[in-house]
Symmetry: C2
Subunit: 560 residues, 2 copies
């Protein structure tokens, strides 16, 4: 909490805060902990020759001045030397990057939390962070088996502890034996630990009912975001009208727009059909690519299934149609499937793009290039902090694969604890193993709670006049459409705010509920939405939904 | 090991290998583990409408064909459809990236390990990986305290285990209390966990003898590489002669050249003075920047201290001169200080750029922009796999800091276990705490062993005619200069190899020792070097050094 707090403060207040802390730290360190490693302190160092002018004596003045506020310093003109790196001289593509999930509304939420903690009076007792899919932060408990194995891998002396089940120990040993020096502290291969990639491959084979999977096509990543970013990086080239264009759904998860902005690629929007439960229409894909071909070179098509923020689950037929479209239009397919276990709606089922592709005619199965992404952060485990993930690459050119491996090698390897966790996710306890029953109990409890909360959210929101919410078939979010009266739109525009940002900010100030406005994900012009996670515990979620309901009714009254 | 093995195989052999594994996996999954989550399996899914042409029946043919080798498929022309992503149509900047530390010589080392494991006869029993600073892989043991706390954070139920010392528990609680939901599975703030950044700040204050440090200037990173890459990303702009140029030492750690290639920035080489123990001469910096100004816009100066691969430790005077130079030439300073605890030579001492800068006159202390990088991967802990690190940003423009935080937020956060580990490194057991004595014993043992091995390496290598090795004052590598006879240079040239690559490849084939040729780090034309880590256990290192000695003598004989 307070980490975010400090980070989000305005630069001004940050400077004020920090000066105070400086003195505190300097003081504390002076008193409690005199100076660092005694070995190095005891040494003295004859200056190595350097062919520059002889060094001057230290200005004792400077040392004392360090405490003075910068404002003071600036008066004597010292601050007047221009910075090398300014907003005007920095990388322009970075400036274009936006990421609403941690945008201004979250900064305000953090300020409100601080104000509450400082005893300031508010119309609410706590801020509820319904803006990000952070399951453990919302109170979800880790899977016992996963954490036991991670503890064993971190401190192998525990392998002799009789309280740990045998299967946690055998898993830990298998992981450690794949690590250099049997330690998670060693670098792994850049592509990821061999045995983990083999387990991922076996998992995919099981998941897809026997469709083969080659461990050499598996790349472990630092969360799914890292894999998606890396694949997009490979795809970007050309200038002007030949610049790489990438098709992304609208509404989208803003990692995509952020990555494309950073890479200077062209974002090609295709709109999901809200009237048809956020379904994907091939005619819309066709419209989008046709228009894009006039100003860029469309080379990739990104799909998020189950949908984030929209929660739809694609039918097998729809996936097959998308693959045919990608083949026809010569597009590299990127399938974001991090919510593959988060399917709740009756009659819905997760179909992987890989499985559907491999079951199609060879002219597709053998040629359509596909990257599929998974993560340890979502599903029933929600282990976001470990930054584990993998991507599977299908039909990729061998020379490009070599380039991909080379590119990954510069970063050395994904975090090994995240790789270990990914291994456990794809190779959980099996029937007959001591941890099996507990694992199934924990996983089922989490997934059925999520299914219940998905239904609950849809039902309650649809009782509110001016809010309409599609079924949350999967993933972890509702993305309801909201009516915003003309008078509110006018007031927002005067404030230079998007109407749904204005709406969400007002809700935050009045209720303490932190949502993300639809404008952060993209939406059809003239429509307004917000994204709300379904992650809070059921009792808390009920309160939250009623607060949203009451707020919306007040809001409509106020602006009608 | 075998992870790297598989990854490094040639595309051809990878294809062959993988086909076999496919069938194995498909078979295994069919037999042992019938399919995945029963809940989702039990559901059936009515296709969501999609406005495309009606889907065709699956070609049962395709399913059976999946087993056939691709070569077969290609005969009927199905493979003839060109790939979307090929070596010719991929991101050209990625193609320019090179990273010798995991380059062709390592790929060959991996093949040799496989050949050995398959019983093939070699003039050596094992491959010794002296190419990368991977301490645990070389048998270095983790610090007990660090791993105990990480185990507690992974599986907090252990907090009731009486065998864990009290200070490990208090540290674990402090870390967990800073995590959302008290779980390392939650996302942290993008800048890193607040309490960890405060501990990093306190550490820096102690390290630098009371010079203040603002936690708001600390950004936790995914290893130091991530921080360096991010800072360079902010700095890159302009085109043609206004394109950002970045000064890096030659020899350098190839992350820098790789990052600059990926970002399309201009690499400005300044040469370290091998005759003066790889010291940094300001006159050489001046030459490099003057020449560079004619074709690009020099904006940043990268320093690696202690040096990688060169092992020199900069004097306080030299650092002060560098800072004056950076101020005069208006360069953003990037100080790679990941080896700050790895200082061995009598009379040498680590001085941080931050400390020296803050002790200089305000015209420098208040204006020179500096980013300093540290990591959990080196020093006495060598925890590479956790990908922990931080950067401290000094005198950075506030708007740019906001942009930096925004950019980091897209990747959500650095791995939390790595953040926790960084916290322990900067806040180790204190005198009086139960873990203190063991911690000091372990740290001292590792650092004195490294000091001994640094001396040993220098001494033995300098007994060999045709090898001259500067003192390994710090870091983890020797970078000796080697004489390569004309005849060998000729043979290498005919093979299209760099002479030192030819030399290292030959050594690998004959002795099993894996080194990195100097050409992978950069060196003065006509000079040849190799980088060798000093990490193997002393007894093993002695054998290794003697093998190098014998090889070099044979090599000289053969080519004279």
């Amino acid at each position: 909490m307070s980490a975010t707090r400090m980070q989000m403060l305005s630069s001004r207040s940050v400077r004020l805060l920090s000066r105070g802390r400086n003195e505190m730290l300097a003081g504390r360190s002076g008193a409690q902990r005199p100076g660092g490693d005694p070995r190095t302190r005891s040494l003295t160092c004859p200056p190595l020759s350097s062919s520059s002018s002889p060094g001057r004596a230290l200005s004792s003045l400077s040392a004392t001045r360090r405490g003075l506020p910068k404002e003071k310093m600036s008066e004597n003109g010292i601050m007047s030397r221009a910075k090398v790196l300014t907003i005007d001289t920095m990388n322009p593509t970075v400036k274009k990057v936006e990421y609403a999930v941690r945008g201004p509304i979250v900064q305000r939420a953090v300020e409100l939390e601080r104000e509450l903690s400082e005893g300031m009076k508010k119309p609410f007792a706590e801020v509820i962070r319904a803006n990000i899919g952070d399951a453990h932060a919302m109170g979800q408990q880790p899977i016992t088996f996963f954490r036991q194995v991670l503890a064993l891998c971190s401190y192998p002396e525990l392998l002799s502890d009789s309280t740990f089940p045998e299967d946690t120990k055998s898993r830990a040993c298998r992981i450690l034996q794949s690590c250099g020096g049997n330690s998670m502290g060693s670098y792994s291969a850049s592509q990821g630990i061999d045995s983990v990639r083999q387990d991922v491959a076996s998992y995919i084979v099981r998941r897809d009912g026997g469709v083969p999977c080659d461990p050499n096509n598996i790349y472990l990543t630092t969360g799914a975001s890292d894999g998606i970013m890396t694949m997009l990086k490979l795809l970007v080239c050309g200038e002007g009208t030949t610049r790489t264009g990438v098709m992304i759904p609208i509404p989208q998860y803003p990692l995509y727009s952020a990555a494309l902005a950073e890479l200077g690629a062209v974002q090609i929007n295709y709109f999901l059909n809200e009237e048809k439960c956020w379904s994907l229409d091939i005619t819309e894909l066709q419209r989008a690519v046709n228009e894009a071909r006039q100003h860029c070179n469309p080379r990739a098509l990104c799909i998020i299934n189950p949908g984030n923020p929209t929660g739809q689950v694609q039918s097998r037929q729809c996936i097959e149609d998308v693959i045919r479209f990608a083949a026809k239009e010569r597009l590299f397919l990127m399938a974001d499937e991090v919510y593959q276990d988060n399917v709740y709606a009756e009659g819905c089922q997760f179909h992987s793009f890989k499985k559907v592709l491999f079951e199609m005619e060879p002219e597709y199965a053998e040629t359509v290039e596909l990257a599929s992404f998974h993560s340890t952060s979502k599903c029933y485990m929600g282990e976001c902090g470990f930054r584990g993930g993998y991507m599977e690459i299908i039909n990729m050119d061998d020379e490009v694969k070599d380039q991909l491996t080379k590119l990954l090698s510069v970063r050395l390897c994904p975090p090994v604890p995240g790789q270990a966790l990914m291994d456990l996710v794809v190779n959980p306890p099996q029937p007959g193993e001591p941890s099996y029953d507990t694992f199934i109990k924990e996983r089922t409890a989490t997934l059925s709670a999520l299914a219940e909360k998905a239904k609950l959210t849809e039902q309650v929101l649809n009782t509110v006049q001016g809010i309409s919410c599609n079924p949350v078939q999967g993933a972890m979010y509702s993305f309801p459409r909201i009516t915003i009266p003309e008078k509110a739109i006018k007031e927002a525009t005067e404030k230079g705010q998007q109407p749904d940002m204005f709406y969400c900010m007002k809700m935050l100030e009045e209720t303490g509920i932190c949502l993300v406005p639809g404008s952060g994900f993209g939406q059809k012009d003239g429509t307004y939405h917000f994204r709300m996670t379904i992650l809070p515990p059921t009792d808390k979620l009920k309160i939250l939904l009623n607060k949203v309901k009451e707020f919306h009714q007040r809001f409509i009254q106020q602006y009608s």
